[in-house]
């Protein structure tokens, strides 16, 4: 592909970036080729390690030691940005003609500099404005990105702004010199979904009014669907498919693209089982030769070990594949794949579980059988210590959670959804008695466990376990997998040391899909998805009846996320475990949950059966939340009605009186601002709103 695209603004030509690490050379980019035209919105989609962020950094000249550009070229309007001459020219182009918005608005602004000054810096650098000229332009910019009260905000420091506001400041800084190209590197990943909707709306609007070209880098197909003309899919440092958004979504030509789209759960769909791409993202120390995807590809054959050619697909997309346009992923399997059964711990485990619990399907049925709930929570509240108890006084406390009530039945999954500060994690920890409840009661199998302590609490821990969000932080890096999974057994005196548990652990690991030789390795040898499997095995070791899964898949890549979701569902079907599934991702929750509860600012606003909640939401916040979740399908996403409510999620230390949502709610009246609505409604659908 050596043709020069005349109309292209930015051309990336066979770009290669390598990183020197102690374990060897990590290949960040391995010859990525891409171009973006004027006024065009192009998305680069890929999972972690695919090289999508490295591409943005290379364009912006931000590749630092240990990284280096080892080949290829980057051209802006036909002129190279690399080499001694190019990088001199690039300095005047960056920030002026090409601007960048980073993922994390928390760390991307200088904490010690007023935001007005930070924005003004660009104007003074590139447009030679004086301080006062820059200041008045800054106020216009803040206005343009929807920041209220610009003069006051301009004089504030980043820590005084919310995450959404900071990202608006970043965008104001990026558009300050009216650039031709805006590179947005995961611009909404760190934001809550309702705030994400605001920022995406802002970006789309700016793109229209300023005639911007946008290079959007994301892992989230939903974000892409509503915003972009073209899509480039990256895998293992290369672009595997480039095409028009609608074509790529409707007729993906590369098996990886197909897998990616199929494994992304959709809000508007509730297939019980997701398609998952087996295996882990490639180890970029030694990426497979030829097509890097062949080791995970259902279509792989001998010639895939050769570099695949770039070909046109039926829809006109450019694909790097030997077998484009061949359907790789069938209709999702209705039943879990047959497991290789052993005759040890695993079978025993299934046997022990089955009689004790009710089959999952029965529990999920609309008319619930008269079983006692496994877990009952009534009016739960949790206070947080704001300051530690000092030398002199008592700790200052604020309420982080109030009036939470729900039941969890055996074999059921209750999805607990909320944005940051909603108290969903706090709820999970309080239920597990990790945090003390300041009010309300928790019943486990009819027994009041609110005030259980000491040994009794330790015994209780055998029955209820936790799966963590971050599979990297939750495994002690100094312990072998065997010791990690055996720890609960040792702690409860089931075995004396981990070697005694070796057989059981091997069975457990097989149950979660890890091979026998995993036992004697350390966590660093595993990918994120594999680590999460270890975490699940550890939680299962004591054969609990109930697991709190705290954002168990949010740190994982899309293709791996589907694997873990499927694993959790399979385990539930076979073992009858109940889950309290905490997440912010409504699409995943729809797939895994039987019932769903929505939290907002420490209050439960709605709880209902999955389908009635998703199809007939009653609380205005639930409506806004659902409409804010982007659907990874361009036509659907464009056709959806979106409710974007202004304003930020209230901070936990400044909760308003009355209904916490009243500041952003279109239905709010005086009563809402004075009196908190109770959770009420018909049988299976409760809502806390005065108007619904």
């Amino acid at each position: 592909m050596d043709m020069i695209n005349e109309g292209a603004l930015l051309e990336i030509d066979r770009l290669a970036v390598e990183f020197d690490t102690r374990r060897g050379v990590v290949y960040g980019l391995r010859g990525a080729t891409l171009s973006i035209g004027r006024g065009e919105t192009l998305a680069i989609v890929g999972e972690s390690g695919s090289g999508k962020s490295v591409t943005a950094q290379a364009v912006m000249g931000l590749i630092d030691v240990p990284g280096r550009i080892s080949g290829g070229d980057i051209r802006w309007k036909g002129e190279t940005l690399l080499g001694p001459h190019g990088s001199r020219a690039a300095r005047d182009i960056r920030g002026k003609e090409i601007a960048l918005v980073f993922q994390d608005p928390m760390t991307s602004l200088n904490p010690l500099m007023k935001i007005g000054v930070q924005i003004g810096e660009v104007l003074r650098r590139h447009l030679g404005m004086s301080e006062s000229e820059a200041h008045s332009r800054v106020l216009e910019l803040l206005e343009a990105v929807g920041i209220p009260a610009p003069p006051r905000r301009a004089a504030q420091y980043p820590h005084e702004l919310s995450g959404g506001m900071r990202q608006r400041v970043m965008i104001a800084m990026a558009i300050a010199c009216e650039p031709q190209l805006l590179i947005a590197d995961e611009p909404t990943t760190a934001l809550d979904v309702t705030i994400q909707a605001q920022v995406l709306e802002l970006l789309a609007g700016l793109q229209q009014t300023l005639k911007l070209s946008v290079l959007l880098i994301t892992h989230d197909l939903g974000v892409v669907a509503g915003l972009c003309h073209r899509i480039a899919v990256m895998y293992a440092g290369r672009i595997v498919e480039t095409g028009l958004a609608d074509d790529v979504f409707n007729r993906p030509a590369h098996p990886y693209t197909q897998g990616l789209i199929r494994s992304t759960p959709r809000l508007d769909d509730h297939t019980d089982r997701l398609v998952s791409i087996e295996g882990a993202p490639p180890n970029m120390l030694a990426p497979p030769t030829g097509c890097a995807f062949r080791v995970r590809c259902p279509l792989a054959e001998a010639r895939c070990e050769q570099e695949p050619p770039l070909v046109q697909s039926r829809t006109g997309a450019t694909v790097a594949c030997w077998r484009p346009d061949e359907a790789a992923w069938g209709i999702p399997a209705a039943t879990p794949q047959a497991r290789v059964k052993g005759n040890g711990y695993y079978d025993q485990m299934v046997a022990e579980y089955q009689p004790a619990s009710v089959p999952a399907e029965a529990a999920a049925a609309a008319s619930r059988p008269p079983v006692t709930p496994l877990l009952s929570v009534r009016d739960l509240g949790v206070d947080y210590e704001v300051s530690s108890p000092g030398f002199w006084g008592k700790a200052r406390k604020i309420s982080a959670l109030k009036g939470i009530s729900f039941d969890l039945y055996p074999g059921e999954t209750l999805g607990l959804v909320g944005e940051s500060g909603s108290g969903k994690t706090t709820t999970g920890r309080a239920v597990l008695r990790r945090l003390e409840a300041s009010e309300g009661r928790i019943y486990f199998k009819g027994q009041d466990i609110t005030n259980v302590h000491g040994d009794e609490l330790r015994q209780l821990r055998r029955k209820m376990q936790l799966v963590f969000q971050d599979p990297y932080a939750s495994l002690n890096p100094r312990m072998k997998i065997l010791d990690i999974v055996a720890e609960p057994l040792i702690a409860h005196g089931v075995v004396r040391n981990s070697d005694e548990a070796r057989e059981q652990i091997t069975e457990l690991l097989r149950l979660v899909g890890l091979s026998r030789d995993a036992t004697d390795r350390f966590p660093y040898a595993f990918s994120g998805g594999q680590r999460q499997r270890v975490g699940i095995a550890r939680a299962l070791a004591l054969k609990p009846e109930f697991i709190v899964a705290d954002e168990p898949v949010s740190a994982l890549d899309v293709s791996v996320r589907a694997q873990v979701v499927n694993l959790l569902q399979d385990l539930q079907k076979e073992l009858g475990i109940s889950y309290l599934f905490i997440a912010h991702d409504l699409s995943v929750v729809r797939h895994i949950s039987h019932r769903v509860a929505i939290l907002y600012s420490g209050r439960m606003v709605e709880i209902a059966d999955r389908d009635s909640l998703y199809e007939h939401p009653r609380h205005p916040y639930t409506e806004a939340l659902l409409s804010a979740v982007p659907v990874p399908h361009p036509e659907t996403q464009r056709a959806r009605k979106r409710l974007v409510y202004r304003g930020d999620i209230p901070d936990v230390s400044h909760w308003p009186a009355g209904c916490h949502f009243h500041g952003r709610c279109p239905l709010a009246d005086e009563r809402c601002s004075l009196q908190a609505p109770p959770l009420q409604g018909k049988a299976d659908h409760l809502v806390a709103c005065w108007h619904r």
Binding site: R91, P111, L112
Partner: protein, 306 residues
């Protein structure tokens, strides 16, 4: 702000009370002031007389109350050695020590910022390795030896600089260099490592992505953000100078400051003078600490006082 200063003053009071107790315990309970203060040839009557004169024959609690009362009124008694109020001696010597610290630390501060920043530009480069090595060298050379070497080289061999006592500005050169060298080394290494850290922060990438010139990124962002840590360490250097680390330099260069006074008090077994010095310094340290916290608030808007 007011509340904060009040709290810090209370905390400072705790420091002063702590020092009181340590001094009291050290002088009255662990050691025997009479044995220390009178010559070995003194008779038993002389000892008893002296003990009575100082009030040391009364019960310990009574002694402590009186001791504390005297402190509260800044009455440290007379220097046994010079036979005049101890506080007067302290106040006469203090300015000499303060100017010495100011000169030494001032030079260190002025040099540390540029040297550390240059090293940070290219970690592992020649300038950086030189900085690290000379910094480690500066931390490793004992001050008293450095002082003597300087005397030997500049005053004895080249005969260009005065080697002892206070006087016109040339007298400050050698003592200030000796005193400032370890501070320079520490400050320079700190600037280097903080600037390297800051240059790796995400906000610096933002600044670079904005197309700012390198000097704007370095001075406007990285070095600016290294200031809070720098001020903290510089303040600590000032405090440790006050806390007695000038003693060595003052001894080597016969500098008539607090440190030298402390050494003389020790040689003359003058506990009252030593007490007066310790208390003055303790109060100064508390004051400097509060000033540092307030300064911190102005440099770093994220700092919440309290």
């Amino acid at each position: 702000m007011g509340l904060f200063i009040l709290r810090r003053l209370l905390q400072g009071l705790l420091v002063v009370i702590g020092v009181t107790i340590v001094v009291f315990v050290a002088t009255r309970l662990v050691g025997d002031p009479v044995r220390v203060m009178l010559p070995l040839s003194a008779t038993a009557e002389e000892r008893a007389e002296f003990q009575h004169q100082l009030g040391l024959d009364r019960p310990i609690p009574v002694q402590f109350v009186e001791f504390a009362q005297n402190l509260a009124t800044l009455n440290f008694g007379d220097s046994l050695w010079q036979r005049r109020p101890a506080m007067g001696i302290v106040l006469a010597k203090l300015p000499n020590t303060l100017t010495l610290i100011a000169c030494g630390l001032g030079v260190a501060i002025l040099l540390a910022l540029p040297l550390g920043a240059i090293a940070a530009l290219k970690p592992g480069g020649l300038a950086d390795r030189l900085t690290v090595f000379s910094g480690l060298f500066g931390l490793s050379v004992p001050q008293f030896w450095m002082g003597l070497l300087l005397i030997m080289v500049f005053a004895v061999i080249f005969r260009v600089l005065p080697t002892s006592g206070i006087g016109p500005p040339v007298h400050y050169i050698l003592p200030a260099i000796t005193l400032g060298l370890p501070s320079l080394a520490r400050l320079m290494m700190l600037v280097r490592s903080t600037v390297i850290d800051e240059l790796n922060q995400q906000y610096v990438r933002t600044a670079r992505a904005k197309g700012l010139h390198f000097h704007q990124v370095l001075f406007g962002h990285a070095l600016r953000n290294a200031l809070p840590a720098f001020i903290t360490l510089a303040g600590w250097e000032f405090i440790s100078g006050l806390a007695g680390y000038t003693v060595v330099v003052e001894t080597v260069f016969a500098w008539p400051g607090l440190g030298q006074a402390a050494m003389q008090a020790i040689q003359h077994n003058d506990l009252f003078l030593l007490q007066a010095i310790v208390f003055t310094v303790a109060i100064l340290i508390v004051a400097v600490n509060i000033a540092l916290d307030v300064a911190h608030k102005f440099i770093d808007p994220r700092v919440e006082l309290g």
